[in-house]
């Protein structure tokens, strides 16, 4: 796994991955411990069997292998001893004919070492090791010992392993779960803070537990960043207040003087010129007001005043209110609200302004005697509020510019107004987590204000 892939993995995913690795390691450890254990037991048993075979086949100095009688006597003696009583011994001919001993075998064992199983029919033996050694004169000595110190040893051992490793896995699983919960909670604190700030509560901060751990340091860094942003916003707001004050005051003076000139005009020509200048001054002021309004909306502070209201009813109400205004300008206005949004959360004033603005645009730019269609429908992202006219529309290449401040189109839409209407509506859409889209109504323009459904 690359570092990038690791960084992209989710917290539950990471937990599962670590858990899976841990599980594999635990099982591997268990298997190897089991195997080693079995090998060790087999090895020890082999050595014991060897030692006993040596005892039986011991030669007196200078002599060959002992006779059958001596061997059987030794076997008998060993069978009686406490230390070796559990060992099976048998003396046979090469063809398997039994000569004596304390066990009988169902099959002929190969010479050397071999494993014994339950079906070899030795009473009390389920698993064992056997050694077949040449005892001279066509005789063979068979030594058999159990590899199980007591009954059901293997099952017991497996059970012990399962319980041991199982409890380890449970403890780790619980630990991982607790860890994931802790991390999620601490990260959740940050997310809640981000949400609160987006909702307009700039004073919100991530809680610090005081334990000075990684999370606390992260939270402190995050809070420092928020403090800095709040400072910058405060400075920006101060600046925009200063701009508003410093520009409005001279503009107000200018307007006052122009207004005085209109009143004091000596003749009609002077009055007309002064009135034209006054009208231009008012356009400038309207533009300035719209810019400040956009700045206010983009500041996001109005989110703090978001409240639930019936969006469907509002659209219906405003469109109906605008019908006489549209008729007055020679347009037909129709409204179709096809979705119920009784608890939409947002800024009622701003959405009212957005809709009045869009319908006003449609009245201004729509074809004379044309139709204006207002609708509210459900869409993938929530709801879409559409205002369509049948005027000249906006060519696709100019649409992005139409949404920018001062991106006013010079040809078809260069009538009255300050050209900040669509940028203002776009800002209102963004404040609500939505967006504004311009499209071809074939003919005309359709403006879609897409708002997230809640």
């Amino acid at each position: 796994m690359t570092a990038r892939a690791i960084r992209r993995i989710s917290l539950p995913g990471l937990t599962l991955a670590v858990l899976a690795l841990f599980l594999i390691a635990t099982v591997a450890t268990g298997i190897s411990v089991l195997a080693t254990n079995r090998m060790t037991v087999a090895h020890l048993v082999d050595r014991r069997v060897d030692a006993i075979a040596d005892l039986v086949l011991e030669r007196d100095p200078g002599e060959g292998l002992p006779g059958t009688d001596i061997l059987l006597a030794r076997i008998d003696a060993l069978s009686r001893q406490r230390d070796t009583g559990d060992v099976g011994l048998a003396l046979t001919r090469a063809n398997g004919q039994w000569l004596g001993g304390n066990i009988r075998l169902r099959r002929t064992l190969p010479s050397g070492r071999s494993d014994l199983r339950t079906d070899d029919g030795i009473i009390g033996l389920s698993h064992g090791r056997a050694l077949v050694r040449d005892a001279g004169a066509g005789r063979r000595l068979i030594v058999v010992a159990e590899t199980e110190p007591f009954d059901s040893y293997r099952e017991m051992r497996t059970r012990i392993y399962l319980i041991g490793f199982g409890s380890i896995i449970l403890v780790v699983l619980g630990g991982m779960f607790a860890f994931a919960l802790l991390v999620a909670r601490r990260i959740g604190d940050q997310r809640a803070t981000v949400d609160a700030i987006i909702a307009g509560n700039i004073r919100h901060r991530v809680p610090v537990t005081g334990s000075a751990d990684e999370f606390d340091r992260q939270a402190a860094a995050f809070n420092r960043m928020l403090d800095r942003i709040a400072e910058l916003m405060e400075a920006m707001r101060g600046q925009s207040n200063d701009i508003a004050h410093d520009l409005r005051t001279p503009l107000a003076r200018l307007r006052g003087q122009l207004s005085a000139m209109v009143a004091d005009a000596r003749d009609d020509d002077q009055a007309t010129r002064a009135a034209a200048a006054l009208a231009q001054c008012d356009t400038l002021l309207a533009m300035f007001a719209a810019l400040l309004r956009i700045a206010e909306i983009e500041g996001g502070e109005r989110r703090a005043g978001f409240a639930p209201f019936d969006l469907s009813a509002l659209v219906e109400e405003i469109a109906t209110m605008m019908i006489p205004v549209a008729e007055d300008a020679g347009h037909r206005l129709s409204v179709a609200v096809d979705v119920a949004m009784p608890d939409f959360v947002g800024d009622r004033q701003l959405l009212t302004q957005a809709l009045v603005n869009l319908i006003g645009n449609a009245i201004k730019y729509g074809a004379a005697g044309g139709a204006i269609r207002v609708s509210l429908d459900a869409c993938e992202d929530g709801v879409v509020l559409r205002v369509a006219d049948d005027g000249p529309g906006i060519p696709p290449e100019d649409r992005a510019r139409a949404l920018r401040r001062f991106g006013r189109l010079d040809s078809s839409r260069a009538q009255a107004g300050h050209g900040l209407g669509l940028p203002l509506v776009a800002a209102i859409a963004r404040l609500h987590g939505g967006r504004l889209v311009l499209d071809d109504a074939k003919p005309g323009l359709v403006v879609s204000l897409i708002l997230p459904g809640r």
Binding site: R248, G256, Q257, M321, P324, Q349, V356, G360
Partner: protein, 226 residues
């Protein structure tokens, strides 16, 4: 009606222009340049209305209104300001101002607002009582209106508009004031909504005969004859 007004504004050139225009409308104006002088002036004299700039050196407009209200001085205050944010307006009204107007304002608009805030102080009747202006009667509570005793069928918004005009019969209501009070908008639409609704109201009021009771004050607003 000649009124005694106090204009509190630190920009002398603007204040002089505005004062001259208000004098031309027949009022007596006193001008002071900051908040402390304003409080001192109000200790000395009684004014019909105070026009108060918000951003001033020494004591700002908000503090002046708060100080006034704390002293129990109930003189109507119109806050005149360069700050146009919705929250600014809320701050101004919460501090105790009667109206909040963004600079610059035409003298006629300010004059209309001065009369409106003074009139507002004299009201003893509730908003829903029947209002009479000439031969026009409006009952906002029952959503009904009459002219010369004949009922007139009005849409909700038209009724609210007529009620507002009737409440201020004889006074000028500007488009901005009507948008604020009748439509309840905190912005000024670019479209001529007010004019269209006044035109419809005129048609309905004159359908049964009689002269047009609504007077147009060019470039400023409308007034219902008392």
């Amino acid at each position: 009606m000649s009124l005694h007004l106090l204009l509190v504004e630190d920009d002398t050139a603007y204040a002089q222009g505005l004062a001259a225009e208000l004098r031309a409308l027949g009022h007596r104006i006193e001008h002071v340049g900051d908040g402390r002088l304003a409080l001192a002036a109000m200790d000395r004299e009684q004014y019909d209305t105070v026009i108060l700039d918000r951003m001033m050196p020494r004591l700002d407009g908000l503090s002046v209104v708060e100080a006034l209200r704390a002293r129990g001085i109930t003189v109507p205050v119109i806050m005149l300001t360069a700050l146009s944010m919705a929250s600014d307006k809320v701050d101004g009204l919460e501090a105790g101002a009667d109206d909040y107007v963004v600079k610059p304002v035409a003298a006629e608009e300010l004059n209309a607002r001065i009369h409106a805030v003074m009139r507002g102080r004299r009201w003893t009747t509730s908003e829903n009582d029947t209002i009479r202006a000439g031969d026009v009667v409006v009952s906002p509570a029952s959503f009904r209106a009459w002219r010369g005793g004949q009922p007139i069928t009005l849409a909700n918004l038209e009724l609210k508009l007529l009620a507002e005009l009737a409440r201020h019969a004889g006074e000028v209501l500007t488009r901005a004031m009507l948008i604020e009070r009748v439509w309840g908008y905190d912005f000024e639409p670019e479209t001529n909504i007010v004019d269209v609704y006044i035109r419809r109201l005129r048609i309905k009021l004159t359908e049964g005969g009689g002269a047009d009771p609504i007077e147009t004050i060019r470039g400023i607003g409308y007034s219902l004859k008392p």
